[in-house]
Amino acid sequence: MESQLLELLREYFPEAEHIEVTGFEPIPGGYSRETYRFDAVVRSSVGEEHHPLILRKDPPAAVSILQTSREIEHDLIEALRMHTDIPIGRSLGHEPDPERFGEPAMVIQRMHGNSRTSDLFHDGPDVHHADDVMRHLCEVLVELHSVDISTIDPHGRLADPRGEGVDATTWDTYIDTTVEYYIRSFPDVNFDPTVTFVLDLFLTLRRNKPRPLPLVLVHGDFNPANFLYEGGRVTALIDWENARIGDPREDLGWMTTMDILSNTNVMAHPVDEGGFLAYYNKLTGFDITQDEVDYFTLFGTANIAVPVNAAIKRRLDGETTEFMHLYLVQSSLGTVPNLLRLLDYPGVSQ
């Protein structure tokens, strides 16, 4: 793979006289893409430069949990870098041709900062930075939710990136068509009758729509593992593959779910502002209620539950032998009690 990588880097650094790849190794974590860290040492007539980089490669289609486009992710990252102050690593380019790496891939800048965000919670070494980091994280999220969609996504490719018939023309059409996509997908995610509660979740979303808010660009996988920090600041928001046009409360709801699954506590900070939601409301004036966050906790969970449970079903149907998909049967249970509580199941506590 390293020789193919060198070929690609020569395209990204055409002025280079010599390029060397060092420290190439896989990065654990990230459930949907295969990622490798490496340094590119680029020598040219003007001197030698060291570039900390990441190769982000699609897994084979049958194994893939989220079917997303590296081209769209690349274009989004570069648009956000150009038009916002959101901390985000540069995308050097994408390789759509599977000939080179076996599957489409992209090369992005490896940002500095601590990726072990669990260090910010419980007895972690950086708990004293938790308030400042989450304050900045909230400000970054607000900036993301404030971007001009037509500037960032001029061709409308983020309106329905999964190609599932989602219509983001208005808030109502967005919610209606997205929930219809969830319900329509149920046979593909129904790997066992116990997932009846997932069906209940989808149907409940359709029956109980909250008030509308303006549609925005959402990160789509806003969770405690998708940012880096240093000191009291976020140094990068990472993993943009599930970004799309959506309701801003989706990112808040998904973070609520992932706080539980990750044993973190992002939503409780910054404490002096009354927590993440209160600070978000202060910055945006959206006045989002906890009930609305609860709805979008279910909505955002459904958005990920569809591809995740579909991957589990493909594994159980024998289409793949990927172990990760079996592990997800167990690990995803951590979020279930909270979902049942939000659905008002009798006798269930968080």
Binding site: T117, L261, N263, S331, L340
Partner: protein, 168 residues
Amino acid sequence: MNTSPSIDQMLEGVLISISTDILPNVVNPKAAATAQMMQSVIQGIRQLLPVYDQYLAEEHNQMLGVLREVAGTIVGSSGPAADRIRERAAALANSAELPMPLDRDAVMAAHRRLGVALQESMIDLDELQRAGDTDADAGLEAIRGHLGPRIARDTQTFLVGDALLGRG
């Protein structure tokens, strides 16, 4: 309880992953040998699981018979050892044989049939609710009242640890 994945499917998945994800990347021969021993033990467990309850019950009932038979073979013997054997058989005289456990595949199939029926009922209830039939709310409540504690119990039983592994 899930019927899919079954316990056997999960163990098989671990075996496959040891072969494809772990062993090719293990450079220490002792670690590789340990991984292979783990595969052997896991495969053994897969073979044990379908028959374990049945064999325990069968063997229990056979042991009852053997202990009585042993006492019958020494009717002419005397002394403390022979007395202890007879006492043991007499003490077991009233012990009932254990029933044979149900075939797990049959139980899983029956469980699955009803699970699907609950699912189909939920879809029908949703149709009634959307048509304004408020009686359907109680029907949904009944299904939720069954599923909630059950799924909570499954979660308590099967979940390990308090965070996703392999992430930041």
